[in-house]
Amino acid sequence: MSKSVEKLLIDVGSTYMKVSTSGHVEQHFRDFNQDILDDLVNKCGDTLKRFEKDDVHICSSANGGLTTLIIGVTQSFSLKYATNIAFNSGINIIDTILYQNIEDYSVPSEPVDVVIIVGGIDSHSELFSDSLYCYLEQLTYSNIVFVGSEKDAPVIKSKIDEVVVLPNIIDNRLHIVEEHLKEYLTNLYQQDIEGKEDIKHLYDITNNQIFSTPYIVNKALPHIDARFAVVDPFILLDIGGATTDIHYSKDLVDENIVTENEYDRLVFKKLGVYKSRESLIFSAKDNEFVYELLMHLKVTENILEEHSKRATKILMQLAIFLVLCKTSHYRKAYINLKLLAINSIVFTGGITKVLNQEEVEDIVAFFYKKVLTSEHKPRSIIDNNYDIWTLGAKELEACQ
């Protein structure tokens, strides 16, 4: 019989660090004046000393993810497929460009981490011309990948420096082929995490690969009923300091794209209560229901300017409301989830340390009543001991 070895699980978020040993989770607010490793050693040094490097598993969402711009030739196939793959790789899409109208699009002022170019089945060619190259000359990007027609690949390669050419994501029956682009984007995300100076230092305490937190959380979903009385179908909201991730069962989406994963995820990069506080407030002020929501919470919009515990609570409640809006028919961001069909909403991340059950349920009920004009009440489940993260980390460790 093999002896089970105790593991140390660490999650480095943008705002908090969580450290889990068997049955016990510690949480610490990040000291932004220190390197992550120094901060971790200062706060959890005694715990760290107890573990060998092989027994330490770390994940991080501290980088907030990569950004991408997608250029495709149609909405129904190339842009739809690339968007689906990018989102499921945890990448934030800043814009999609319909190639035939590329001259009408403005060039993003901020640098883009990765540009995806896609279009055409393999037997089609000459889908792109000089307007693409002119646009790219004005754009600042770190990586560029072509996943369109293989007949067009040689021209694309000769015209665009350092372009990575991968197999087409559209097969000859116009179906999606996701694995190559997904692997490329997931590796970029991974390299981005590992490339962060702060994160690199964490390899001083672990021999294992450092994964992105949304990836770990996604791993836990098929096994979530081991820890919680979750009634299917459900969505999971991970609301933290820099980002809000939503994980959902594919049954909740009308799109009939056939892929291998049972659960998809979306990362809303600029929806957090600490590092992304300003953009969250901006999104809130742009939402016509928010003033009514503030009134319902018995506060005025002045609360958004405050830096108090009460203000953090309100921001967390706004984040719940905004992310539900973004996945509903109202203010749809990318997907339109069947929110009236869900039976449970699971909450994890920093939000669980700030809001109680009643405060969460209040916002969910407000959303359903005001936006969906429904009395539907999915059960709210709060993961206040980070069980989902530890479950995912253990799942991954078991797979390795």
Binding site: T74, Q100, I121, S125
Partner: protein
């Protein structure tokens, strides 16, 4: 030669769709079959992605007229579909109608070939004749 085909709108006549697919393949066309319940945008987008020469839309449940009216306005949004042969066939009206009037109406919607209640092989013969004529005209 490439053909995009499918059944437009909320129409699930899959047998007719399958017969069109098989008949086109038997005549040597490369077929991209979008199946039933297909929106117009998906048809046009499939033509762009495949570089198809022909778009053959079928309709059996009488929805064609509603969708047909949308063809021309939608086509104006696409920049490279001028040379595509637009064909529609099946049961194109609800109830009875004057065949000449139906032809005229659908051609005004933007279709080059209209096959209302015409058997499949005759319709595909019409397509071949049309394509041959077009080739001769472009060579002349």
């Amino acid at each position: 030669m490439k053909v995009v085909t499918g059944v437009v709108g909320n129409d699930i006549h899959v047998v007719a769709n399958r017969l069109i697919d098989l008949s086109l393949r038997a005549r040597g066309y490369e077929v991209f079959n979008l199946g039933v319940n297909t929106y117009l945008e998906e048809f046009f987008d499939a033509v762009v992605e495949t570089g198809a020469d022909v778009l053959l839309i079928s309709s059996l449940n009488g929805e064609a007229e509603g969708w047909g009216r949308e063809v021309k306005p939608l086509l104006t949004q696409y920049k490279k579909l001028d040379d595509v042969v637009m064909m529609i066939g099946g049961n194109l009206v609800v109830g009875r109608g004057d065949p000449d009037e139906i032809q005229r109406k659908y051609k005004s919607y933007g279709f080059d070939l209209v096959c209302h209640q015409i058997d499949l092989n005759t319709g595909l013969d019409m397509l071949e004749t049309h394509l041959e004529k077009r080739t001769q005209e472009s060579n002349a």
